[in-house]
């Protein structure tokens, strides 16, 4: 068994340097990493705890939008009144991960970089058009959230790179979002399918902008542009919702496993997208 070391750097540069070494793994909430360590699925030589870096934990408002420290726990997200008002869908996705105990630790960056296709924290972030600020040995870059997962358990991050924070754009009036997932149990379960919908409305209640993201129906989260386009210019009339569901289902390429068949997942993804759209629409002040 190789020797394990633990480091808790205070600067992002120091963390990037440490993570560039082979066998180094970043640690945020640890709710995935510690399970993998114990099962032997990963045996790193160095754990780099990112939570002591300034800005890695906490939420701040900037230029009308929000900056979320990548290691911020779900519990902290759920208690932030301003974030909850502007991005209720992002918060409800993050808050669906695990138990109260897991919420006390688990972070959005961990959920994203663990790269499970069924990650509940991710679809609403993608629908929100959120970006991540990535730090690495060559400095900083910013990338859309959906560019990070590269397949089950795989990310597009280069060696040494880690996510420092998420950025959510400023919110115009009459805008909101929602995330729904289906699980066989009501708690402590993994999504069969999930859908995040983010809407901006015109003053007359028609949809000005719509983004739809689906989870657990492909190797990575899907941003389904055709599904969003099906809502633009509508008041979520039944035909618009049917077009949304059809576009969402057309984008699905799920696997069949013990949680559900590919056919079931595809069907459910359409249902969830429709329901999430209605919730987001009502939250944005729209009346159907």
């Amino acid at each position: 068994m190789s020797q394990l070391a633990y480091l808790a750097p205070s600067s992002p540069e120091e963390a990037a340097k440490a993570l560039a070494a082979s066998g180094a793994r970043p640690l945020s909430g640890g709710t995935d990493l510690l399970v993998q360590l114990r099962s032997g699925r990963t045996s790193p030589s160095l754990i780099v705890d990112l939570k002591r870096i300034a800005g890695a934990v906490g939420i701040r408002e900037e230029a009308g939008g929000f900056v979320i420290g990548a290691s911020t726990s779900g519990a902290v997200l759920g208690e932030h009144a301003g974030l909850l008002r502007a991005w209720p869908g992002v918060v409800e996705g993050a808050n669906l991960i695990g138990s109260t105990q897991v919420q006390g630790r688990a972070s959005l960056a961990g959920n994203l970089c663990n790269a499970s296709p069924a990650a509940d924290g991710v679809p609403a972030l993608v629908a929100a058009r959120a970006t991540c600020v990535i730090v690495g040995p060559n400095g900083r870059r910013e990338a859309p959230v959906e560019s990070i997962p590269a397949g089950p358990g795989k990310t597009s991050l280069a060696p040494g790179e880690f996510i420092l924070e998420f950025r959510l754009p400023a919110r115009p009036p009459r805008a909101s979002d929602a995330y729904l997932r289906l699980t066989p149990r009501t708690e402590m379960d993994i999504a069969v399918a999930g859908a995040g919908v983010n809407l901006v409305l015109h003053e007359d209640g028609t949809v000005a902008e719509a983004h739809v993201a689906l989870g657990a129906v492909a190797p990575t989260v899907l941003h389904v542009e055709a599904a969003g386009a099906a809502l633009v210019g509508t008041r979520l009339e039944d035909e618009a919702l049917a077009a949304l569901a059809a576009a969402a289902q057309a984008a699905c390429k799920p696997i069949s496993d013990k949680r559900g068949t590919a056919e079931y997942r595809t069907r459910i993804a359409g249902v969830l997208a429709r329901r999430a759209a209605v919730i987001a629409y009502q939250r944005a002040g729209g009346q159907r």
């Binding site: 399970v35 105990q101 630790r105 402590m188």
Partner: protein, 162 residues
């Protein structure tokens, strides 16, 4: 293997210990500090038997490295009774027979304490969802929930000036 010197507060008292880099907080509490109340059930964050409160947050101590506790306040079941006097939650668990084998009880009590610290008047549904990460395989949950709600009522009464 080089050990890490960790300084924390446990149940209000300063505590120091040496941890190996991969040691969990649960193992440090049990093996280094002799606090064997928190139990290892699953070791993967599913059962809640290892629940403790760190800086005011309920966590699974099996999913946290001991080194991460540096500078943090840790509360365990050993700190729940004060001066030999059981906490109302502990008393109500006894009165409602909310335990049989007792393995899940320290975790359930810490979970229930975290619930009542943040929400003194939970509904039954809120209590059940909050404690969904604490599994019990012999008593079931009805007696536990009744004990928690009864303790909540008693604590609210204690807080109300006569």
């Amino acid at each position: 293997m080089s050990k890490i010197h960790v300084t924390t507060t446990v149940n209000g008292d300063p505590a120091e210990f040496l941890a190996t880099p991969g040691m969990t907080l649960l193992d440090a509490l049990r093996d280094e500090l002799g606090l064997t109340g928190a139990k290892e059930g699953c070791g993967s964050g599913d059962c809640g038997a290892c629940s403790v409160i760190v800086d005011g947050r309920l966590v699974c101590s099996c999913l946290m490295l001991a080194a991460e506790a540096e500078g943090q306040r840790v509360e365990t079941i050993e700190g729940m009774a004060q001066n030999g006097q059981l906490h109302p939650l502990q008393q109500k668990f006894l009165e409602h027979a909310a335990l049989q084998c007792g393995f899940c009880t320290p975790g359930l009590l810490m979970g229930a304490k975290a619930l009542l610290d943040s929400n003194p008047d939970p509904t039954e549904t809120e209590a059940r969802y909050f404690l969904a990460g604490n599994l019990c395989r012999c008593t079931g949950y009805d007696k536990v929930i009744r004990a928690v709600l009864d303790a909540a009522a008693e604590l609210r009464q204690e807080r109300t000036p006569a």
